[in-house]
Amino acid sequence: ADIELAKKSTLEKILKNGELRVGFEAGYMPFEMTDKKGRFVGFDIDCAKEMAKAMGVKFVPVNTAWDGIIPALLTDKFDIIMSGMTCTQERNLKVNFAEPYVVVGQTILLHKKHAGKVKSYKDLNDPKFIVTSKLGTTGEMAVKRLIPKCTYKSFETEPEAALEVVNGKADAFIYDLPYCAVFHGQQGAGKLIFLDEPFTFEPIAWAIRRGDPDFINWLNNFLRQLKNDGRFDRFYQKWFESTAWLKNVQ
């Protein structure tokens, strides 16, 4: 065993500093967001708090901009990304992922004027359609890969992109299922059509810097524990199957 490698593990640093710095971008409901009181809440935040508890250290949230989140991880602005990040092969070349904990896919929020005319992402593949998504996300990648001919506009945050469709400035918003579901529930009534059949396969996982097998090992075992002792399901129910949390957010 390479004891030097173990010593250099992020785990060691977390324990030494007594804090677990978690990077995410608030706004990706229901994974992470800011509530009315200015506190960070969401599925990932609950998991992160459990993780910090399991390590016996303090939980420190770092709310950062999405398109800088991987550079920020690599430049050690935080120890782990827990931000509903899809484990893509491209990202995986730059960072390591723990085992996926949720699988989502891209879905479509469509402006109601296209009801019935657009049935799947394939129908959007035409320059006359303005499709929005968020910068640097798998939504964007999916658009570029699968709907290359549409007019694509990227935005800094999810609501900006989605509101563009609500306001009629764009025709469709492509994004992960959970967010689209939440947004459709809140804002979409009468304005949007939700095509909720995912057309991509996107496992979501926590990301850390490369070359740290100890940390990966710890994370995978922590995840197994979380999933099997019922906490994971409780969180899942709280954030994905009920909407009670919405009232704390708005």
């Binding site: 500093n17 706004g27 967001m33 009315k36 200015g38 050690d76």
Partner: protein
């Protein structure tokens, strides 16, 4: 103002009244137009949701830390003393009378709520505002110190000092603050923290790199202010001091700087106002000042119109307050 009495037609009181009220009418119409067009696009204004981002009431619950029975509830004016006991343990809690949840004799599990009361908490926008102010203040302090020395170096005869100062000033004033913030955060921040970690020292939180970026930015502008201030002191003052036998630095310290100081103060305060505005960029590197706080709230509340107007208003209030101060300082400078 550009007055030359006879050249403008003579205006009556009525003229001023008419066009003055017309101005207010115009403002009114513009606001009305804005409101009307939001109605057209089905935007529902929810101003009532805004105050909670300034202050909100939080339910604070007092929970039992032992298991047992409520032994007694003693009334003490607005407070109540609740004693819970069982199995040899006994604890007493002071709670507000109005929020009492239990009565004497109730059976209590560990963690049960005994009473609750509401407490006012500062909301996210106010916290952001406070951080904005704090960061600007710290940055202007460091910036002033840095600017003072750079300004002195700028007018020094020593080429190293002078060129060094010029290089610093030109680089900082020639590139966008945003890029400087990124460089501090991603380049210097990474380097410094990695080196610190290497030698087992705790790392510096990102807030401080933001403050460093702002301070260095302000420092370059303050340096020019300091230079102008010093050069505005009449040469005769320096000559008088030096001909009394003072050294260059003594003359600077005792004669030039105290006089330059008064002329520096108003533009320095102006720089502080700029800094308040510039600090809005810190949100980019995860510092939750006012603009970032607003963005976060907008993301979840989806009420962009109200919140952005409120945000702009808060900045206006800040800058307006401080520019009043600047004007006051300027009046005082002119007088003395």
């Amino acid at each position: 103002m550009y007055v030359s009495s006879g050249l403008e037609p003579r205006r009556t009181r009525k003229y001023y009244l008419t066009w003055g009220s017309f101005f207010f009418a115009l403002v009114f119409i513009l606001v009305g137009l804005l409101y009307y067009s939001t109605q057209m696009v089905d935007y529902s204004w929810r101003w009532y949701r805004v105050p909670q981002y300034f202050f909100f009431q939080e339910e604070v619950e007092v929970r039992a830390e032992v298991q047992g029975e409520v032994l007694s509830v003693k009334d003490q004016k607005k407070k109540a003393l609740v004693t819970v006991g069982g199995e040899g343990e006994k604890e007493t809690y002071t709670v507000p009378l109005s929020g009492l949840w239990v009565e004497q004799g109730d059976f209590i599990n560990m963690g049960d709520v005994l009473a609750s009361h509401k407490e006012w908490q500062v909301g996210i926008l106010l916290q952001g505002l406070w951080l904005t102010l704090k960061v600007s203040l710290v940055a202007i302090i460091f910036g002033t110190i840095l600017g003072l020395f750079t300004g002195l170096a700028r007018i020094s005869q020593n080429p190293t000092l002078r060129w060094g100062a010029v290089t610093y000033i030109e680089i900082v004033r020639g590139s966008p603050l945003l890029v400087q913030i990124f460089i501090w955060y991603f380049v210097f921040g990474t380097l410094i923290n990695s080196l610190l970690n290497r030698y087992g020292m705790p790392s510096i939180p990102p807030l401080w790199f933001g403050v460093a970026a702002l301070s260095f930015f302000a420092g370059a502008y303050v340096a020019e202010i300091v230079r102008a201030g010093i050069q505005s002191v009449h040469t005769g003052q320096n000559e008088a001091a030096r001909s009394l036998g003072m050294s260059a630095s003594q003359a600077m310290r005792h004669v030039i700087l105290p006089q330059a100081f008064r002329r520096i103060l108003p533009p320095l305060a102006g720089q502080f106002i700029s800094l308040i505005k510039d600090s809005s960029l810190l949100g980019i590197i995860a510092i939750r000042e006012l603009t970032k706080a607003t963005r976060e709230v907008v993301t979840t509340s989806l009420q962009p119109f109200e919140l952005w107007f409120v945000c702009a208003l808060l900045y206006l209030v800040l800058t307006f307050t401080f520019s009043m101060l600047v004007q006051y300082l300027e009046r005082r400078t002119v007088m003395s």
